[in-house]
Symmetry: C2
DNA sequence: CGCATTCATCGTAATATTGCAATGAAGTAT
DNA sequence: ATACTTCATTGCAATATTACGATGAATGCG
């Protein structure tokens, strides 16, 4: 089927999965890391930085943008992308809630 | 192609993507949440808990097991799964390194 | 205007993922 | 031994993802 049955899961579970899926490709991880590293928006040279073709990068950027993790603004012929700090924080809160659920765990049981 | 070009990315980026992909499906999120909630291993009733067919659950469990996040031990006809706390902590460290890279960010730039 | 640059979109091919019915393997029970 | 239970594996169909060439849209430059 290739189609997740999202309707049988909670909104929270689906949201975690959606964010996680965004990080589920090394190119998107690399794009985000680069955006953080340069500490400002990146205009253009993302294709050189990551080693993929321009349409492929554009597609990955689109996915990150749809999730709200980055934002792009047109600057002449170039488009400048940068992290959306507000949504990044929001995403971190949601992911932390999931990742930190191990506080109560004691030890291995089996 | 449907095939990630992992060879052009760093080991760290690929590892983050591999873990993230594991969380990229709500069923696997739900399975892990359930394993944490009951605070012990779960024997059997995972199929009832999540609303998917038995082979589907089995497949998701296999993926989580391959990543080392859970471990299963045979107990008669049943198989008991539980979180692997050691690897869970290791995973958290790797993911946190990625998620917490925003410490230096100041404000929106574009 | 004509041309180059930059990025998005479209179309397509290859591979991956998801889901389940059918079947298999391994133990338990009667 | 036969039947039952539980879970894994196989096989398959449907959909998703990844990647890129070709093309289009928008801007800047001569």
């Amino acid at each position: 089927m290739g189609l997740s049955k999202t309707e049988i899961f909670t909104d929270q579970q689906n949201e975690i999965a959606r964010f996680a899926k965004a990080f589920g490709h090394p190119a998107r991880v690399a794009i985000l890391q680069h955006l953080f590293k340069i500490e400002t928006c990146v205009c253009g040279d993302l294709v050189n930085e990551i080693g993929l073709a321009q349409p492929t990068i554009s597609q990955h950027l689109k996915e990150l943008k749809n999730l709200g993790l980055i934002q792009g603004s047109i600057e002449g012929t170039r488009v400048c992308y940068c992290i959306d700090p507000k949504n990044w924080i929001k995403m971190k809160r949601i992911m932390s809630e999931f990742l930190d659920q191990d506080i109560s765990i004691k030890e291995e049981c089996c």
